[in-house]
Amino acid sequence: MAKVKVATVWLESCAGCHMSFLDVDEFIIDLVNLVEFRRSPITDIKDFTPVTVGIVEGSVGNEEEKEVIEALRHNCQILMALGDCACFGGVCAMRNTFNKEDVLKRAYIDTPSTYQGKIPLSPGVPALLDKVYPANQIVKVDCYVPGCPPEPEAIKYGLTELLAGRIPVVPSNIMRFD
């Protein structure tokens, strides 16, 4: 049987979900035999090729992240949101109760350690979106594994179900938001 092609990305996040992913322990060995990671933050492959499963960690907070998730969505058949940021907006979404200008001003000018700060305007720096969005507000998402970070059990469950050809819904007993 051909290996299932998987691509993972991390967007606005702390990478904790990918770390938690590594906490599935020996299941990772089984997994390696079943899936092929076509793109992930670890493989350092930057472009997208069509895959079966796309996994997104993190929320969408700037133009680049929006492009990345749209490209991933375009290239995958099933998109899984991994972690609270991707599912709900998470910690990154804390900025949503402020307006964008204030957030930038705070970050680049007002922090006590900043000397003569200015807000970066270079086109190379992706512009912030007005708000931080969970993945499903930008693209269609097929399944979700919430958690900050998700329980390794939940990740394992999600992947096992996907490999079995089912769309997973994390059961109550291993679902956690924090």
Binding site: D84, C87, F88, G90, M94, N96, T97, N136, C148
Partner: protein
Amino acid sequence: MSEIRLLINGKQVTGQQGDSVLDVCIANGVDLPTLCHYKGLTDVGACRLCLVEIEKERNFVPACTHPARDGQVVTTSNEKLEKYRRLILELLFTERNHLCAYCVASGDCELQSLAYKYQMDNARYQYAWPTQVTDSSNPFIVLDHNRCILCGRCIRTCDEITGAHALDFGKRGWKTNVCADINQPLGESSCISCGGCFQACPTGAIFSKASAYRGKPEECTTVESTCAICGVGCEIKGLVKNNRVVRIDSADMTRPRGLLCEMGRFEPLYDSADRVTTPLKRNSKGQLAGCSYEEAFAAIAKKFDASDSVSGLASGKASSEALKAFAELMDKIGSKLVDTLDGDDYRTISQGIAKFDGKAGLDIEARLEDILTADCIVVIGAHPTKSHPVIGSYIMRAASKNKAQLIVLDPLRNPFTFRASVWLKPPEGKKGLAVKALGKAIIDHGLPKAAGDKSKFSADFKNVDVKKASQDLGIDVHDITKAAQILAESRNSIIIYGSGILAYKDADLVATILNLAALVGDKPRVISLKRYGNSRGAWELGLGNPRAPVASDLAKGKAKGLYLLLADDLTESQVLADSLKGVEFTVVQASYLSPVTARADIVLPSMLWTESKGSYTTIDGLSKKTAPMVKAHTDIKTDADTLKEVARCLKK
């Protein structure tokens, strides 16, 4: 109450006439999600999670408000209901800023638990991200509107349980918010910080500063105990983690002694002052320095054995066990000069009672629960919201829920004057005349016929001219007659008096109050507010009956030695310290370092009520026991043990 039979989810169950469908479900172990329902509060049907399908009903109905009827066929779960519930949860999550990862209530949140239960792994709606404020102006409670789901449990608790009604909904619709008074910061409002809202809040919208992030309930051990602070004897449940009380809840807010107040709920979570951690002894340089128990005991024995004038003074905050050991110690010393800090109050009350009926028993006083059923409450010279907040709540509840008439007799404004039917404002010092005028007015109005012969009690008021008194008092005569009319027509009145009366040390005045009560009731219902959590316990041990009040001895400089059992009492410590000036040798047994301990020659450590097992007698004479929630941080003895050890070391 008759039994009814229902079919819930195909199962025959029984309930009582008058139950709601939800009551029946709960009683029969049928699981139904709820957020706005809270035991003991009126149901409002706001969260719509407990919607059920009942045969012959046109729409789904909320189980919490729907009366259960015989023969009802109820379905609590079907595809539609489950779908609606999940949709409602998604709405609640996205309405405000609910993100569990950084919420204080995560792990102790009903909203979160339901989200897990309904496998809510995402929200299809965009979060609204409203800019809500976090109000941390109250010293104990934070009101974080970001987490509020507007279930109204806090509001109903504040109104129905606490009786304060400091909270209500403000604005309308999607702009609705929980507001205190005129949308003021909680800390500047009429909130009495009882913390009932915090206990009732299903999410992290209201939380206690001292409890936040100190431990989730699942990580804590729970200890059932009684609050020993003020003498109401509220039943509490302490949550303890790492030998620290992280949260105190009422064991059951629906029970009369389950209200809790600012003191009981929050005081034990804070360190009030530096603790006395070991025995201290004044050294050669005149400084207090740590020593062993043995050294301290030896020093005490040496002094007391040599002295023929040792006085004993105990605080009503100590447990009955400690007080008993204290009495025994003083017996052994042979001192007749033993008193409590509030001994004057006792003497005023008991002599007053004696003047009223010849006996001196406190048993004549009413029960606190009587306040809740009273139809008329007279508050004379007392500020229970300050001294005994829970009693304040009883009064507020009786006034708002039972529409009890409230009569306040006090020169100063207090929270009750606001709800009082009549507020009589006698000038300071003329409260007695006011009481008498009121009594006379009642007699003038005509006493309740059924009550029998009242001539014995009415004698006290005979010589009063209401009109003239009203002029003297500067009170509108109509107010007096109105109050008299209310009282005369009430069937179930109660009178509460406190420090404002006791300060006069006038036993006649107390007797007059009792006479007044006796005029309108078949038996006089009166409660006096006592200063300490175990005042009554101390008095009943005989500690309030010295040959002469110790305080005057101290003032006259007669006492050569003094044993002061202070326990965790920090009240008036400067005044007390000053009165110790003339004493040659003072032993203070206390929990905290204070001006009093600074004056002492020997200081012995005392446990807090949260650290020890003890008995306490409530204001109305019930015996309540505390259980240790935490261990004292250093190896100290219980108060009773300490006192017994001291006695053992004495040679007398």
